[in-house]
Symmetry: C2
Subunit: 581 residues, 2 copies
C-alpha cells in the first residue's frame, strides 16, 4: 500500500485520549473514536484486528465449528433465562421514529452474549448421546451498555469478541473439554505474543456453581483487574476471590486490662484509631448482613474489607446485603457503628476472619451505643471460636494460605475467560439428551470468550515506547515500512523496485511515498505506526550501499545493496518470527 | 469435516418456509431461523457466506480499502443529515431494563447504512485535492426494521452487506470511479456464478439527482423487483422508472358522435367499462395531485397506472401527493370520480400520457358529477396538447420508446447497487476540499452496495433442483461429499484413506461417516446439501473398481480405483472451475 493512497494519515496532534492504546491508535490512524466506547477500525487498524481474529479462528477451528449468530434476538429468549431484566449492560432495539414504528413496532434484544441463542439451537440438533459433545464458536461484534466506557478499545460499548460454547453429556466430559479449551487458549495467546505475561487466574464462578471460572489475565497497568500471583506454584487469583492470610506483625505479648471506652459518635476505623491511639491492625470491623437464612455477623481486621463472595461461600448463602439499621439494632442492641464481637447474641451465626485470630489487646465494638472495647483478648474476654474464616478482601502484602508465600500483586487486563456453566442455561430451556438406555439426562455446558479488540488494545499497552507502537510481527498491519526520501530519480526507481519486489514475494509493505514530507516526519510516522521492519532509501543510503534496514524494536541500522535487500529482509522476518516460538 | 462431528444435521421434515432458499437452507442445516428475517448462519452456511464475502473482498480490495465501522452511532450524526426521523426502516438502541438505564440512559442509532459515519470520517482525513479520490468499504451486518421480512435470507431485518463509499474532487472523477466500480461489480458477480443472469438496470436516483442510480439485478422468480430489458441494446430498467410506450391496437378509425353519459356513482375503470360496454384501452384515468407548486392534472390510459417518479420528473416537482377531495372539487368542479381531460380549467398544468395520444372514440370523465364523456376525439372535442408525456407505470407488452422493441420483462433480485450521491451527504456535514489554488470546493460522493447474504439466497434460488441445492464450486461449503456405506473394514479403511488424502491435498471434504444411516438417506442428504462432487465408497463400488464419483449437477457415475481417485477428483474440480470462466 502506498501511503498517499491510504484513507488515513497519522495525526501530528499531541492530544491524548483515555488510555495509551487509544492515544497511539488514534494518532497512528488505526482507529477513530465515534463516541465513548465506540470506535471505527480504519484500514491500518482493521488489518491488525483481522490478523488477531485469524489467529484466534485458526486455534478455535481445532476445537469447534464456526457459526454466526444474529446480533438481535426476540426478547422472549432472554426472558426464558430470566436475564432480560437482570443483565445490567443489556441494550434493546426499538423503532427509531414514527414511520419505522408504524412498519413494525416490535422490540428486540441487542445481544451482549449468546447463551440465550446457542442453547436452544444446540437443543434442536444435538439431542442424543451420539450427538455430544459439540462445540461451536463465532467472532463478531458485541454490545454492552457500559456506564463509562474507558481504557480505549480495551472496554467498549461495541467491541469484537470470540465466544465459544460447548455441550456435554457429563460433568467429566465438560471438564475434559475445559482443559482442551485452556490449552487452545494458551496456544492462542502465545501466538498473539502475550504468553510471557498472561496467567490463568481463578475467578468467581457466579451464582450457580461453587467452582471457579478461569480468566486469562495479561499483566498490564491499564488493566481493570488485580491479580494475586503465587510464584512457586504459578497459581493466580482474581482479587475478587483470592484466598489470603495476613502477615503476622509485632505485637506486645502482654495482655492489658480490658477497658470499655466511651466514644460518642466515634465511628469508622480511621477515627477510632486516632481517638484510641492505636493502629488499624489492632482494630476489628464488624458488619451485619441480611441473607435468605436470616441475619449473620462477620468481622475482619480493621485494615481489611469484607469480601462478599468469600463470605457468601462461608455462610452458604446466595443472597447477601448489608442489614438495615433496624436489624443492626436488633442484633447488636446498639445504634449502627458500635457493632463488635463482644457480647453477641448466641443465636446468630458469626464469621470471624483469620486476620483477627492472633491479635492481642485488640479493639472491638461494645455492641452498646457510643461504647468500644479496648484490649480485648481471646480466651480471657471472649471465647475463641472453633473456626476462623477467610472472608477478607486480599491486599498487597498478604500471603497465599497454602504455601505461606507473599503474593505478587499486579494490575492486569482480562483477555479471555472460560466458564463452566453446568446446567444453568440448559435447564432454563429444558435441554436434555437421550442416553444409550433411552433415559433423558441433563446437558452440561461451558462458555469460553476472547475479546479480540481488547487483545489489540492490550498489545499496544504492552508493546510501545515513547515514539509509538511496536507491533509483534504476526499482527503488524504491514511487515515492512518503506520510506523513500527525496525525489531524485535514483531514489524513486530503487524504492519502486523494492516495493514491487516485496509485493511479489508476498511481504506486506507500506510505502511512505509522500513527496513533501521531511525525513524526520516520515521516521516519526514509521515509529508511531510500528511496523516491525523499516527500509529507507535515500541519497545517503545509496551512498552507504543501498537500502538502510532497521527493526522497530532495535537500534542498529544496516546498509545492504538493493540486490540482497529482499533476502536480508526475509532473514529479519524469520528472526522476528522465531523469537515468538 | 466428519458429518458426525458437525453441530447440525439435515432435517427430514417436509416443512416449507417463506421461500425456496429458506426451505432448502434450513432443511440442509445451513441456516436457522431465529425469528422473521433474522437467521443464524450454521457451520455449513457460514462457510458458504464466508466464501461469498471473500470473493467480494478480493474484488473490492482492488478499488478501495477495507474498514469496519460501528453498528451503533450517536443520534446526532443521523439528525445532521435529517434522516433520523425520515428513514422508515431505522432502529434505535436503548437500555433494555431499569438497571441498564441507571448505568447509561443514552439512545443510539443502529445503522442500516453508513453514509452518516463515513462522510465525517473522510472529512477528517481527506481535505486536500492531493488526498482525493478515496474509496473505503466494509463487510458487516446491517439492520432494517422491515414491515414483513420474507423471501428467506434474501430480505432480512438483520443481514450481511458490503458497502463501499467513494469521495471525489469533481463530478467527472466520480463518474470515472463509478465506471470502475461497475466493472468490479461485474467481475464479482461473474466469480459468484451469477454473470449470465445479472443485468445492470437503471433505477431511481432518489430526490437529489436527476440521474439514475444502477442496480445489479439477477433474474429470479423469488425476487421482489421487475426488470424491463431491451434485447438489442442490453439496457435494463427497474419497473419504477422504465420508460415505456404502449403498443398500438386495432381501433375503429371512424369518429363517432360525442356523448355525455349519465352514470351515477360509476367510478373506476372496470365498472365504467362494463357500464359503457367498452374496453379499458378506450378509457382514460385522470388524477389530480398536489405539489409544492400547486395542483396538477394528469391522465393515463385506463389500463395503466400513473408512475409517480416519472410524473415528478415531468412536472419538475419534488413533492407529489394525491389531492384532497376539496382540491379535486375545486379543480374539476365535480365530486371525486368524474375527473377527465374534457373542459379543464386553463390555469392548471396538465400532463397527458402518450398512451392516450392515438386513441379514437375514447372515454374521459366529464368533470361534472355523475357524468362521463364517450367517443372523445382529438382535435374535434379537445385540443391536442403540444406534448404528450411518459408518466405511466410500464407493463408487460410495452415497448422501449427508443428502439420500439417490446421489452422482455422478468422478476429479479437486486444483488447490488451503485449510487451517485453527488453532494447530498458531503453538503450535510459541510465537507469541502482545498483545491490546488487554495479554494474550498464541494466533495462528490458515491455509494456502492452488495448484499452478501442476499447473494447466498439468490444462489440457492438459481441453483437447485427438486432434490436440493447445487452449489457453484467456488462457494460450496465443501467440494467433495464423501459417502461411506456399510461398516465393513474394507469400506471404512478406504473411506478413511480417501478422506485423509483429500485433506492433505487441501480439497475440502465432508465425510458422511454415520453408521446407522441407509444409502438412500445419505444420498438424499448429499443432494440436499449440494456439494459439487459426490464420492461414494461401498462394497458395491469396490466391486466395480473402487470409488464411485458423480457431480451434483450431472447424472453419470464413474468408478475409479482408489489410487487414481484423487487425480480424477482434481480433474473434475478443474472442469467445474473452468466452466465458470
Amino acid at each position: 500500500m502506498r501511503y498517499t493512497q491510504m484513507l488515513t494519515k497519522s495525526q501530528k496532534s499531541s492530544k491524548t485520549f483515555d488510555s495509551v492504546n487509544a492515544t497511539l491508535l488514534i494518532r497512528g490512524g488505526f482507529v477513530d473514536q465515534l463516541m465513548s466506547g465506540v470506535y471505527t477500525f480504519l484500514p491500518l487498524g482493521w488489518r491488525v484486528l483481522k490478523k488477531i481474529e485469524d489467529i484466534v479462528r485458526e486455534e478455535m477451528d481445532k476445537i469447534g465449528e464456526e457459526v454466526f449468530m444474529p446480533a438481535i434476538a426476540p426478547k422472549e429468549v432472554w426472558e426464558t433465562t430470566g436475564r432480560f431484566s437482570t443483565v445490567d449492560v443489556l441494550f434493546k432495539v426499538v423503532p427509531a421514529n414514527e414511520t419505522s414504528k408504524n412498519k413494525n413496532g416490535a422490540e428486540y434484544v441487542l445481544n451482549c452474549t449468546h447463551e440465550e441463542l446457542i442453547t436452544p439451537l444446540a437443543k434442536k440438533f444435538a439431542t442424543s448421546y451420539k450427538d455430544l459433545p459439540k462445540a461451536v464458536y463465532q467472532i463478531q461484534s458485541k454490545f454492552r451498555n457500559e456506564a463509562r466506557a474507558k481504557s480505549g478499545i480495551m472496554r467498549g460499548r461495541e467491541f469484537r469478541m470470540k465466544d465459544l460454547y460447548s455441550f456435554h453429556t457429563s460433568v467429566d466430559d465438560l471438564k475434559m473439554y475445559y482443559e482442551k479449551a485452556k490449552a487452545a487458549y494458551f496456544t492462542t495467546f502465545k501466538r498473539l505474543g502475550l504468553e510471557k505475561d498472561t496467567v490463568l487466574a481463578a475467578a468467581s464462578g457466579g451464582d450457580f456453581t461453587e467452582d471457579f471460572s478461569h480468566e486469562f489475565q495479561t499483566r498490564c497497568e491499564a488493566g481493570e483487574d488485580t491479580i494475586f500471583f503465587v510464584q512457586s506454584t504459578k497459581e493466580a487469583f482474581n482479587k475478587e476471590i483470592a484466598p489470603s492470610r495476613s502477615v503476622s506483625f509485632d505485637q506486645d505479648k502482654e495482655q492489658k486490662a480490658l477497658e470499655k471506652v466511651f466514644g460518642e459518635n466515634i465511628i469508622g476505623v480511621a477515627e477510632l484509631c486516632e481517638f484510641m491511639g492505636i493502629s488499624a491492625e489492632n482494630t476489628t470491623k464488624t458488619l451485619i448482613f441480611d441473607t435468605e437464612k436470616g441475619p449473620i455477623i462477620c468481622s475482619v481486621r480493621g485494615d481489611y474489607e469484607v469480601n462478599v463472595l468469600k463470605l457468601k461461600k462461608c455462610a452458604g448463602v446466595k443472597q447477601l446485603v448489608l442489614a438495615s439499621e433496624e436489624t443492626v439494632k436488633k442484633v447488636t442492641s446498639a445504634e449502627v457503628g458500635y457493632a463488635g464481637i463482644y457480647n453477641l447474641p448466641s443465636d446468630i451465626p458469626v464469621f470471624i476472619d483469620d486476620s483477627i485470630a492472633d491479635l492481642v489487646n485488640f479493639e472491638t465494638g461494645a455492641n452498646e451505643t457510643h461504647y468500644h472495647m479496648k484490649n480485648m483478648n481471646w480466651g480471657r474476654d471472649i471465647q475463641k471460636p472453633e473456626k476462623f474464616y477467610d472472608i477478607k478482601e486480599a491486599k498487597l502484602g498478604d500471603m497465599f494460605p497454602v504455601t505461606g508465600e507473599v503474593y505478587e500483586v499486579f494490575k492486569s487486563a482480562e483477555v479471555g475467560n472460560i466458564f463452566p456453566l453446568y446446567t444453568k442455561f440448559t435447564d432454563a430451556v429444558d435441554y436434555k439428551f437421550v442416553d444409550a438406555n433411552g433415559t433423558l439426562k441433563q446437558v452440561y455446558m461451558g462458555s469460553y470468550g476472547i475479546g479480540t479488540s481488547r487483545v489489540m488494545g492490550v498489545l499496544v499497552e504492552k508493546f510501545h515506547d515513547e515514539k509509538g507502537i511496536i507491533w509483534p510481527i504476526q499482527v503488524a498491519p504491514y511487515v515492512v515500512h518503506l520510506v523513500s526520501l527525496g525525489d531524485t530519480v535514483e531514489v524513486k526507481e530503487m524504492a519502486n523496485k523494492l516495493y514491487e519486489e516485496l509485493q511479489h514475494k508476498n511481504i506486506e509493505v507500506l510505502w511512505d511515498d509522500r513527496d513533501t514530507i521531511s525525513a524526520g516526519e516520515k521516521f516519526a510516522d514509521a515509529d508511531l505506526i510500528g511496523c516491525p521492519i523499516r527500509a529507507t532509501i535515500s541519497t545517503r543510503s545509496i551512498e552507504k550501499g543501498g537500502v538502510e534496514l532497521k527493526t522497530r524494536s532495535g537500534q542498529d541500522v544496516e546498509y545492504v545493496s538493493a540486490e540482497i535487500a529482499i533476502d536480508t529482509i526475509q532473514k529479519m522476518i524469520n528472526l522476528l518470527r522465531n523469537a515468538l516460538k
